[in-house]
């Protein structure tokens, strides 16, 4: 079920009514949330509910075992089971064909012919998100940072909570699980903020991202070799993917707030970053902190010298790239960012640990933006050959007659986002628009709602991150 679909609006309206009716019973509330979440997920393909359930059962059981096991070897064994199941599911459903095909390609390069069986495996929506969320619980319990929950229903609700089930934020059990264990208080401020987040998220998805998508398609068409168009197309893609993904996160946070839950901030004005390090502190925060806490730190983090630290960064980012999809261009994207982080780590100011003064910050912002943009080109290109074609085309100064229309569309659809984000940055508050006085708030929200209705598609377009 897509947030930007008619059926979801009906689903959520019905859910709100039932949610109101069970306000006196916490157990029923959690059962309702699990039921609704499984319906929400099963609407796409009910067969994959079994994976969601299996992932939950395994990590819940591992958590219970870890809670009563003191022997370090046995604890490791239990954690190992959790990781094998979670990564096994991911590996099979997401990476099986990728590795088989890559292996065959390597054999072919060596002059050996191989025709390995390629399975037609359907990628279950959101599998990367919920397996990471579920896995983090087992790791935290193993590290004794979190007590294992006794309630299976609460754990099911934690893993399957529908606002963030299929595209995050990837919540930590320490933040979300206790919210299912305690009564929630829903205030008028929370509803106001929730409504703003939902509206703003819908605007970013339906108006911004969905209208920039055809521009991106146009620029990345194999027949286009114009450098200026590819540059504009990559800028459009930067806004599209941001609008699409952060839009989803905002809607998720808004829905959760209306239900009395707080989800973590997943995007914090990332394009305002003046270093790569800062960018990764602001972009897909729930994934980057997950990778930091469970992968980078496990690899040794920055505790084993400068060279090893850079290597750890590189490995973490490459795996982060691979998390996005089973394709070499995602690996290349991870490598690009990993290399960037490793190189800029040397200069603490460039790396963003100390604030830069005035105009130097402007230059640093420009360099960071250019670096991130080329990363998006790698991300969007479908293959290595496309990366080469697009990169070589960047130098071709061809100006198609329609470039003016292209630029106009790009400005019209991305300008509202830029303006609102400048305002949010200056106010130092992502929720500043929700706290406006009555009249300007009504005008702003009315305009956003009108634009969303105007561009609302009968056939809702899926969110980009569903495929990850």
């Amino acid at each position: 079920m897509l947030f930007n679909s008619d059926v979801f609006l009906r689903f959520f309206a019905a859910f709100l009514l039932l949610y109101y009716l069970v306000r006196g019973h916490r157990a029923w509330r959690n059962v309702l949330i699990v039921g609704a979440s499984y319906l929400f997920y099963g609407w796409w393909d009910y067969r994959f509910l079994s994976l969601l359930f299996l992932s939950s059962v395994v990590d819940y059981s591992v958590g219970r075992k870890l809670a009563v096991t003191e022997d370090p070897a046995r604890r490791k064994l239990w954690l190992g089971l959790s990781l094998v199941v979670s990564l096994g599911l991911l590996g099979f459903f997401k990476y099986c064909n990728f590795f088989v095909e890559s292996f065959a390609a390597v054999l072919a390069q060596l002059g050996l012919s191989a025709s390995p069986p390629v399975l037609n495996v359907v990628l279950p929506v959101g599998i990367s998100f919920y397996t990471f969320q579920s896995m983090s619980y087992a790791i935290d319990v193993y590290r004794r940072r979190l007590p294992a929950t006794r309630s299976f229903v609460e754990f099911l609700a934690f893993v399957s909570f529908f606002p963030q089930l299929v595209a995050g934020p990837i919540e930590r059990a320490s933040n979300l699980l206790p919210q299912f264990q305690r009564p929630r208080v829903i205030t008028s401020a929370m509803v106001g903020e929730g409504v703003w987040l939902m509206l703003w998220g819908m605007f970013k998805k339906v108006v911004l991202a969905d209208n920039l998508a055809p521009l991106v398609e146009q620029a990345y068409h194999p027949g286009v070799h114009s450098g200026p168009v590819i540059v504009l197309g990559t800028i459009a893609f930067a806004f599209q993917i941001y609008g699409d993904f952060s839009g989803y996160s905002d809607i998720a946070r808004g829905l959760a707030k209306i239900l009395g839950f707080e989800l973590m901030v997943n995007f914090n004005l990332p394009y305002g970053a003046s270093s790569l390090r800062e960018f990764w502190h602001r972009w897909h925060v729930s994934l980057s902190t997950w990778l930091r806490d469970y992968l980078y730190v496990s690899l040794g983090g920055n505790r084993r010298g400068a060279v090893r630290t850079r290597l750890n960064l590189l490995v973490t980012m490459v795996l982060g790239g691979l998390w996005h999809g089973a394709a070499w261009n995602f690996v290349l994207w991870g490598l690009w960012h990993g290399a960037g982080l490793a190189v800029t780590r040397r200069d603490r100011r460039v790396a963003g640990t100390a604030p830069l003064p005035g105009w130097r910050r402007g230059i640093a912002w420009g360099l960071t933006a250019a670096f991130v943009l080329y990363g998006w080109l790698l991300f969007r290109a479908g293959s290595f050959s496309e990366v080469v074609r697009l990169t070589t085309s960047l130098g071709r100064l061809e100006w198609p007659v329609w470039i003016g229309s292209y630029a106009l569309n790009l400005v019209v659809f991305s300008l509202p986002l830029v303006l609102v984000q400048i305002w949010q940055a200056r106010a130092g508050d992502l929720l500043a628009p929700a706290r406006l006085p009555l009249v300007p708030r009504a005008l702003l929200q009315g305009a956003l709602l009108g634009a969303v209705i105007l561009y609302w598609e009968k056939q809702a377009s899926p969110f980009i991150y569903f495929q990850f």
């Binding site: 157990a27 007659v401 105007l454």
Partner: protein
Amino acid sequence: MDRSHTYELGGRDLAAVLTPPLGVLAIAALLIHGAAALGWLPPPRPALDMDRTVLVHQAEAARTPQLARTVVIGDSSGLMDVSAVVVSAGLEEPVRNLSTLSYVDLPTHARLLREYAVTNSGGLREVVLLLHPETLRLRDPSSYHSRQVVDFLEGRDAAPGPGVGTRLSLWLGGERLRGRCLSRWLPVPLAGEYGRFYGFTTDLERYLEAHGGSAVDPHTFDRQKAQGTAEYRLARRFELESRTFRDRMPSARLYVGLTPAPESFVGADHATAVDRLRTQWSAWLEPDGLLTNLPVTMPDRWFASVTHLNSAGSVEFSGRLAAEVKRARSLSGTAGAPEGGPRSPR
């Protein structure tokens, strides 16, 4: 009892959150509908995608004074296969292409011709009606596409498609805003190959205007990917539509022909089948001339798709069309006599 959640807000709080933006929307809707009713908004011109841009442009061209007294009309094969520039050169007189899409029914095409005749008083002498055999087997035209043309000609806001969002947008004035203002101010990108070749809706319009109403299909025909069969037949609806077209078209000579299919796509008996189709169809249309010498097939290299020629194929076909129109004129005794009286409508 193990309380789940508490609402620390009442109905008034909820109303304070939800009502203001809805109120703004309601006021905006009133303003838009009011401005439209008072004529303060520009008239509808919903050129919002490839199809609607073609329809709006051709309808607008039909009611704009033109030099051409010969008009080509038909489905998208007429739009893409016929270069008005080449036909003009062949006939040594201006020719206008008003072809639209296969989804548009024949009576709506007749309506375009009437607009043309009214605007160019006494200036419409010949109509060349071209359809692809694929169109002739289409059971149902799209009322949506035909309605777009009629609504535009009558200055009505186009009826939107289905869907909750669209309906809501209609009530709130969004569709009026889209069809009257946004469509004029903000070009819409075209998809796929069309996007690469033309760019945006405004660029497609510029192309159409610069080429006498003709377009080009920029795709490349791939026999392996071509779908469907070449078992062409005449859908029953064409009897009524053809007779209505003949009744409603303005006073002008009518020449009728069929556009070609790729050689490799059709069977050996295609020429016979086309001949049969043309004969049957012409019995309903009663044209002044049948363009029987137009090629029924052409080499695959000249095609963009099963129904459309590519740019080179269009030049080739248009040259042959000009020659065939000349032949038809001579057969109907009007060769070299451009002032020859047009046949009266029945």
